[in-house]
C-alpha cells in the first residue's frame, strides 16, 4: 500500500488534500497528472516535493495553493475548503495567507527592490507606514537592506530571487509556496535561498512547501516527498531519519 494514502487529517495540518485527481487535455490526449492523491502538510515545516519533471509536483503545488481547481477530491488550506471558494474569494485567501516564489523572479523592471516588496502590501489594506516598515524588514531579512533602491536590471540573479522571497515574506503569510526557487541560480546563491527558506519556516512558523528537484534542498527540509507519475513514492524526514513511515 502507498504510504501517503493512509494519512489522516491532523489538527496541526496546514494543508490537507484528500483523493485529489487532475488531468489535462492536450489535443485529444487526456493525461492524468494526479491520481487519487491524499496528503497532509504540517504547519511550520519546510516540506520538499521532489521528482522528475512531469511527475505532477508543480500541479500539486498549484492545487494546494488555490491556483488551480481539482477534478475530484477536496483540498483544505488553513481550515478553508478551497473547492468552495469562488475566484474572488480565492484571491482574497491568497492575499491574506499565502506567499509565492517562482523559478523566474517575475519582478517589474520599472520598480526598485523596495517597491516590488511594497506593491502587494498596498493591496492588503495596510497603512503606508506599515507597508514600508514590513518591506524594509523583509529586505533586511534576506540581506538586501543596502540594495533595496536598485532595479532588477542592477541586481544579480540571486539578489532578484531574494527580492522575490522578500516580496512573499513581507505579507507575513502562513503558507509559502516555492516552485523550483533555486534552479536558475548557481551553487552559492542556491544555497543562500535554501537557507533563507529554512529560516523562514523556523523563525516565522511559516508552512513552506517547496517543489524542486535540487538535491541540495533535501538536507534542509523537514520532510521530503518523492513523486512520480502523479503519486507519492516516499515520504521521509531526513533530520529524524524517519524513513518511509507515515506521520
Amino acid at each position: 500500500m502507498h504510504p501517503a494514502t493512509a494519512i489522516e487529517q491532523l489538527p496541526a495540518a496546514a494543508l490537507f488534500a484528500e483523493s485529489i485527481s487532475k488531468s489535462f487535455m492536450s489535443g485529444h490526449q487526456r493525461t492524468q497528472v494526479l491520481d487519487g492523491l491524499t496528503l497532509s502538510i504540517d504547519a511550520g515545516e519546510l516540506t520538499l516535493i521532489s521528482g522528475p519533471s512531469g511527475c505532477g509536483k508543480s500541479t500539486l503545488l498549484a492545487i494546494l495553493s488555490g491556483l488551480q481547481k481539482v477534478d475530484s477530491g477536496r483540498v483544505q488550506a488553513l481550515g478553508s475548503e478551497l473547492g468552495q471558494l469562488d475566484l474572488r474569494a480565492l484571491e482574497r485567501f491568497r492575499l491574506q495567507h499565502t506567499g509565492f516564489v517562482f523559478q523566474g523572479f517575475n519582478l517589474f523592471p520599472a520598480l526598485s527592490a523596495f517597491e516590488q516588496v511594497e506593491l502587494p502590501l498596498n493591496h492588503m489594506g495596510l497603512s503606508r507606514n506599515e507597508a514600508r516598515r514590513r518591506a524594509q524588514q523583509s529586505l533586511e531579512e534576506v540581506g538586501l537592506a543596502h540594495r533595496m533602491r536598485l532595479r532588477p536590471s542592477e541586481l544579480s540573479g540571486g539578489e532578484k530571487q531574494r527580492v522575490a522571497i522578500a516580496r512573499a515574506l513581507a505579507k507575513e503569510p502562513e503558507l509559502l509556496f516555492a516552485d523550483e526557487p533555486t534552479s536558475a541560480l548557481d551553487a552559492a546563491n542556491g544555497q543562500m535561498i535554501i537557507d533563507i527558506l529554512h529560516r523562514i519556516a523556523r523563525t516565522h512558523g511559516t508552512t513552506v512547501l517547496c517543489v524542486s528537484h535540487d538535491p541540495r534542498l533535501v538536507v534542509h527540509a523537514d520532510r521530503v516527498l518523492a513523486m512520480e507519475d502523479g503519486r507519492i513514492l516516499s515520504d521521509q524526514r531526513p533530520d529524524t531519519s524517519d524513513n518511509g513511515t507515515p506521520s
Binding site: 508543480s58 500541479t59 503545488l61 498549484a62 495553493s65 491556483l67 488551480q68 475566484l87 474572488r88 484571491e91 482574497r92 485567501f93 491568497r94 492575499l95 491574506q96 499565502t98 506567499g99 509565492f100 517562482f102 523566474g104 517575475n106 519582478l107 517589474f108 523592471p109 520599472a110 520598480l111 517597491e115 511594497e118 506593491l119 502587494p120 498596498n122 493591496h123 492588503m124 503606508r128 532595479r151 516580496r167 512573499a168 505579507k171 516552485d179
Partner: protein, 376 residues
C-alpha cells in the same frame, strides 16, 4: 501606493511610444481636419460674422445667407417700432454672372449691396472705411484680392455683372466666398444689377440693438407678424450657425468629415490597442505573480487602464503642441483654418475615447495573467 502604471510607463517609454504617437497623430489629424472645415465653411457666414448687426430679418425658411428671398421693404418700419432697435439697414443679395475684360468665361458672383455710409452695419468688420466710402460712387465694386485672377480684372478696370457695367474701385482681404466670388457694392448699384423685376424689397434687413445681449429675445419678439408679408428673424449668432450647418450637413461635406473622423478613430484605436496589448503581454508574468500573491484581477486591470489614460493624455499633449505650430503655419500661408472651444473639446473627447477603447482591449488580454501558468 506604488505607482506601477506611471513608473512602468516612464521606465519602458519606448514600449509605449508607438501608442502615444498613434494617439497623438490621430488627434492631430482630427484637429486639423476640423480646423480646415471650420475655416473653409466658416466663410459661408462671413456676411454675418463680418458685420456688426445683432438681428437679421429675412424670408422664412432661409437655409443659408446665399439662399435668401426678398422681403417687403415695409417690414423695416415694423422692426423700427420695437424699442430695443437702435437702427436698421437693408442688405441686398444678388446672384450675378461676371464677365471680365480678360477671357475668363462666365464667373458666378455673389453681389452684396450694402449701405456705404461710414457707420454701415454690413461688413463693418471686414471692409476698411476708405473702401466703404468709395462704394458710394455709382457702379463701384470691391472684390477680394485673391479673386482678381479668377475675375480677370485689375483695380480701376471695368467689367459687367448681369450685363450691367461695374468698375473695380479697390480690393480687400478676408472676403473669400465658397462656390463663387463675393462682390461688394452699394445698395443702389445692387438694385441696378438685379434682373428680376419681381425683386422689389431687400433680401435682408439687419438691425443693431441698444443692448446686443438681447439679440435672442428681440429676434423671438419680432417674429410672427404677418401684416407686412412673410418674414422671420434670427439673432446674428443663430443665423451664422444655420448657414454653416447648411453647408456642413446639407452639402455632404459634414458627412465626409464624420466619415474621415470615424476612419481616423478606427485606425488610431487599432494601432494603440495593439501596442498596449503588446506592452501588457510583456509584463504578463509579473502581473500573474501579483495575482498569485492575491492582488485582484480588477486592480491589475486598473493599472492597464491608467496606462491607457496616460498614453492618451501624453498623445494629446503632443498633438496640441504640434497642432498650434501647424495652425500658425497655416494662418501665415492664408490657409483658412479656424477652431472653437467646442471643436477642441470634441477632439479631446475623441482622443481620450480612443485611448479608453484601446485600454479596454488591452484589459481583455489580462485574462491570460493566470498564475497557474507560472508553475509549468
Amino acid at each position: 501606493m506604488v505607482a506601477l502604471a506611471r513608473k512602468t510607463l516612464i521606465y519602458e517609454w519606448r514600449r509605449f511610444l508607438p501608442a502615444m504617437l498613434a494617439v497623438g497623430f490621430a488627434g492631430l489629424l482630427q484637429l486639423l481636419q476640423i480646423a480646415l472645415v471650420l475655416g473653409i465653411f466658416g466663410s459661408t457666414s462671413l456676411y454675418i460674422t463680418g458685420s456688426s448687426a445683432d438681428v437679421w430679418v429675412g424670408y422664412p425658411g432661409t437655409q443659408s445667407v446665399g439662399s435668401g428671398r426678398n422681403i417687403d421693404a415695409d417690414v423695416e418700419s415694423r422692426i423700427l417700432m420695437d424699442p430695443a432697435i437702435q437702427r436698421v439697414e437693408p442688405y441686398i443679395w444678388v446672384d450675378g454672372d461676371w464677365r471680365g475684360p480678360r477671357d475668363t468665361g462666365g464667373v458666378s458672383v455673389f453681389v452684396s449691396g450694402i449701405d456705404p455710409r461710414p457707420d454701415g452695419l454690413m461688413f463693418s468688420k471686414a471692409l476698411p472705411a476708405d473702401l466703404r466710402a468709395r462704394l458710394a460712387e455709382p457702379d463701384a465694386v470691391v472684390v477680394d484680392r485673391s479673386a482678381l485672377d479668377q475675375l480677370g480684372v485689375d483695380i480701376g478696370q471695368t467689367a459687367t455683372i448681369n450685363g450691367h457695367q461695374v468698375r473695380v474701385v479697390g480690393v480687400s482681404s478676408g472676403l473669400r466666398a465658397l462656390g463663387g466670388v463675393n462682390v461688394l457694392c452699394s445698395l443702389d448699384t445692387a438694385r441696378q444689377l438685379d434682373e428680376d423685376p419681381a425683386d422689389i424689397g431687400p433680401t435682408y434687413l439687419v438691425a443693431k440693438l441698444h443692448d446686443p445681449s438681447q439679440a435672442n429675445a428681440v429676434a423671438v419678439r419680432l417674429r410672427g407678424s404677418k401684416a407686412f408679408g412673410p418674414y422671420t428673424t434670427w439673432s446674428a449668432k443663430d443665423f451664422a450657425q444655420i448657414s454653416v450647418r447648411y453647408w456642413l450637413f446639407d452639402t455632404g461635406a459634414g458627412a465626409g468629415v464624420l466619415f474621415l473622423a470615424g476612419i481616423v478613430f478606427l485606425v488610431g484605436a487599432v494601432i494603440t490597442s495593439q501596442t498596449l496589448i503588446a506592452a501588457v503581454n510583456g509584463s504578463m508574468r509579473e502581473y500573474a505573480t501579483l495575482n498569485a500573491l492575491g492582488v485582484g484581477v480588477g486592480a491589475l486591470r486598473k493599472v492597464v487602464l491608467e496606462q491607457a489614460f496616460w498614453v492618451g493624455a501624453l498623445g494629446l499633449l503632443g498633438a496640441g503642441l504640434l497642432g498650434i505650430v501647424l495652425m500658425l503655419l497655416a494662418r501665415s500661408q492664408d490657409v483658412p483654418v479656424s477652431l472653437n472651444i467646442r471643436a477642441v473639446l470634441a477632439c479631446i473627447i475623441l482622443v481620450m475615447g480612443l485611448a479608453a477603447v484601446s485600454g479596454l482591449a488591452a484589459m481583455r488580454s489580462m485574462r491570460r495573467a493566470d498564475p497557474a501558468t507560472l508553475l509549468r
